[in-house]
């Protein structure tokens, strides 16, 4: 017991000091809340690269609300890690397709961007997931509004059902209180910039492999929606009741149907190409 006390006396202060340092010296590559996430391991190579390119696949890091379970099906993510969903495998597999199929000069690794810094203005295309859990301070909402109105593009993905939609709107209405959200038609230019995507269908997450269901919660019907600027250009592309990130992430899994993965890649490439041209 005595030895335990001695060890505790040494370890506890060290642990506390480490925690303070970790909190104060927050790294871009670590979430601002809680311990490090297992996917930051080197399984997919370093998450940051000094490689310079025209296009950086940018993932939005936001502060997640704490009154939610924080995750979709099955994985039980801890509080605060919603923005990390499918990271970084989905990003990197998508970048492989982007670099192979288009003339976009893109970096092979992803970039994490925050709304608490003007650095986001250097990345005019941003991807966000689990947006039912996002929260913004007034300053962050204002920065995102300015980012979008100046020419930035935001794609949101992986939120399902009525409750998620309502929670998504809480954040979105802080950014754009009045702008209408409209359903996109087949004829919209965003579905024809690179690939003509006429018939779209619901793209499920990996849970489809286990359950055989294409939907989650009460999100039975896929919603392809958007918010436009004053000139009619899409600023926010909303993929509701679907999970493109999982489709990119598990495209290499034999059990995950190819048709879902293919559609997800085509949608993603069209959205990026639209963001680079409009």
């Amino acid at each position: 017991m005595k030895s335990f006390r001695c060890v505790s006396a040494l370890v506890l202060p060290l642990a506390l000091a480490s925690g303070v340092v970790a909190f104060q010296g927050e790294s871009r590559w670590f979430p601002r809340q809680g311990p490090s996430y297992p996917y930051y391991s080197d399984d997919y190579g370093p998450s940051h690269s000094n490689e310079k390119a025209e296009f950086y696949w940018s993932r939005l890091r936001y502060t997640a609300r704490t009154d939610n379970y924080g995750g979709g099906f099955g994985y039980g993510y801890g509080f605060g890690y919603s923005w990390l969903r499918d990271y970084p495998k989905a990003d990197r597999q998508f970048l492989m397709a982007l670099r192979r199929l288009t003339r976009i000069e893109a970096r092979s690794t992803e970039q994490v961007v925050d709304l608490d810094s003007d650095d986001i203005f250097n990345y005019p295309w941003v991807y966000a997931v689990q947006v039912a859990n996002w929260t913004f301070t007034d300053a962050e909402a204002r920065r995102l509004r300015e980012y979008l109105l100046k020419g930035g593009f935001l794609m949101v993905d992986d939120f399902h059902g009525t409750a998620d939609w309502e929670r998504f709107l809480v954040g979105m209405r802080m950014v754009f209180p009045d702008r209408p959200i409209e359903d996109l038609s087949d004829n919209d230019e965003i579905f024809h910039v690179l690939y003509d995507i006429g018939h779209r269908f619901q793209i499920p997450g990996e849970q489809y492999v286990v359950t055989g269901r294409t939907y989650e919660k009460d999100g039975y019907v896929p919603k392809w929606r958007a918010i436009r600027d004053d000139q009619g250009r899409i600023m926010v592309a909303i993929c509701h009741n679907m999970h493109l990130g999982d489709a990119w992430e598990w495209a290499d899994k034999p059990e995950y149907p190819e048709r879902f993965a293919s559609m997800a890649f085509r949608i993603g490439l069209d959205y990026i190409m639209y963001g680079l041209t409009h």
Binding site: F55, R103, I104, E146, L276
Partner: protein, 776 residues
Amino acid sequence: MGAPTPSREIGVPGAPGSRFVREMFELLFKYPAAVFSRGRFVLLGGWPKWVLGVLALLALAGLGWQTYSRLRRQSHSLKNWQAGVIWALESLLICLLLLLLWQPAMVVAELKPQQNIVAVLIDDSRSMGIRDGSASREQQAAAALRNGVLAKLQERFQTRLYRIDTQLTRIDSLEDITDATAPATHIGASLKQLARDTSDLPIGAVVLLSDGADNAGGIDLDAISALRNRHLPVHTVGFGPETVSPDVEINDAVLAPRALADSRVSATVSFHQSGYAGQKGRLTAREGDKMLASRDITFAGDGKMQMENLLFNAGEAGAKAIEFGLEPMPGERNPLNNRVVRLVHVDSEKRRILYVEGEPRWEYKFIRRAEDDDKLVQIVSMLRTTENKIYRQGISGPDELADGFPNRAEDLFTYQGLMIGSVEAGYFTPAQQDLIREFVDRRGGGLLWLGGHSSLADGVWGGSSLVDLLPVILPNKKDTFHRATATAELTPIGADSLICRLVDDRQSNLERWKKLPYLMDYQEAGTPKPGAAVLAQMNAGGRKLPMLITENYGRGRTAVLATSGTWRWKMSQPLGDTTHDMFWQQLLRWLVSDTPGRVVASASSQTLLDDGHIRLFADVSDETYNAAPGADVEAHVMGPDGITAMVDMTPVADKPGSFQADWTAEKPGSYVAQLTAAQNGKELGEDVLDFQRLDGVAENFHTEQNRDLLERLAAQTGGRYWRPEELSKLADEIPYSEAGITMSETKQLWNLPIVFLAILGLRAAEWLLRRRWGIV
């Protein structure tokens, strides 16, 4: 008119001095200078001239021998050069005396008394009504003639009186001159008319009393030739001060005759002043009652030409009469010369730019967004999204650019500008490269290269057939494109360029550029070619590299923007900042605004002062922009009070595709000429030209005496410029003329005062030198 101010003859070198010289000349040489300038030198003595030469040589030799032998013997200290000076003085004296023995004289033609006519012309235009003291210039001229000058002339000649304004009118007496109300003076035309109307009369000389204000812009060669053919000397008498003070006068306002709607226009206003050096003035540009722009200026020194720029917005489409003015200064003598009106045709026809981009990138997106707000410039783009896919935007229909970059002139030449992004030169076939060259050279289009990792040297453009079109000599290496930040700044040329003008004030604009966010990347563009203009440069890695370089090539223009990172000017500046959009709109408007159409109209002058004659020109091309000499071209002119006319234009010899027509605008006001061309029943195109006739305005300018014009006229015709106070001697000089009925007069020279002074001077100089050198 305010109280008169004594004239200040600043800048008239030698005016009083030349009078002194003239008077001294006549004192020493006994005869007027005209006798020597127009006469012929002769020796009246009966002995042969060679005898004079032989005697002179003998005298020189004898004096030389005497000087050398006698003087050197007498004084051994005498130096050679001193002996030479003595010899020269004695020799000159002997030669002069020998010359006098041969009786030198001048033979000069002289008008026969009472058999010749002297034409006296009095300027009757409005500027002669300006009062320089208690009387107007015209009254001063009439008074000078009445106070003896006319009477002295009439003692020796017949006289004819005329008044001149836009034409020559004979009058019977000085009472017939008007009150100097004529709106203009055409001195050259009036003199030509005089020479023509009096071709059968013995006119011996012309006396012109004027202030030299000529609205035709000078005296043309035809008028001078007509006078010289008849050997008619014109004696000019200048009235009016040679400098009006205090006064401010605008000399000119220069600006492009055409502009795109809602674009920034730069005008260069030149002016001079007297009496306000160092004081502040206000330069304005107005359209009717609407103030377009104004700025404070500081006047330079008296009489110095000053040039200032003024920027204003062209506004909506249509013909605009822009009045440039300097607000009247306190006590200014003539505020009517403080403003000029210039026409600008503001065009609203949409320009189209073909933008070829080799890869999706942010610069492409943000350039397109900037141009979305420009209603007059449309970007039609073809973007290579994949190796084999091209995404087209801004096309007018599904067929446009469906086969990629145009292969035919008639397709490519429908655009006014061309932008090449991150595209290798090899993407274009040799035929397409030739087409691009013709697009700039012959069609007159604008070509802009953008930086990128497949652009410029990295795109092997240095080895392409379009290398001549580049305004830079590209580096002879690869990897010139760097994804590293750079900051931009203006060069002095760029500070004056409309492309780079983000803020109207020049200094503020320079500061604005220094505060722009950094560029995302930069490219080494190489060395600017001679004749190219570097408007902006980049600070990159401790180096200064050219960023925006422009050049004229053929009928068109080319430019390089050696970066693809200006999009940060949009994303990294506050929401609503227009810097990025404004820069690109101005750059692309520059690229296309001067690209001509298939019919280009022009005129001899867009502002007709008092004379309504105008010559209209049209350059006509077919759809491949080759000259269309067989076109039918006509001008439909519309003017004030419902004036309308259809004028057929005729081909200009030796200039295929050029047509011209003469027309006269009878009434003052604004006119519009619509020039249309057709060939084989098919319309080729049309263009619109604005012009105006202003009556009575020119006389408000150059109200000071134009002595230079009067002096040149006198010198070119063998006459002389006279000041009014010298007129008492006019009658003595006029007789020496070859015009009219003349007789030959011989003027002896032996008795000139200068001869006696020379003899005395030579002897006195020799005596003084001998005394000084001790050889007396």
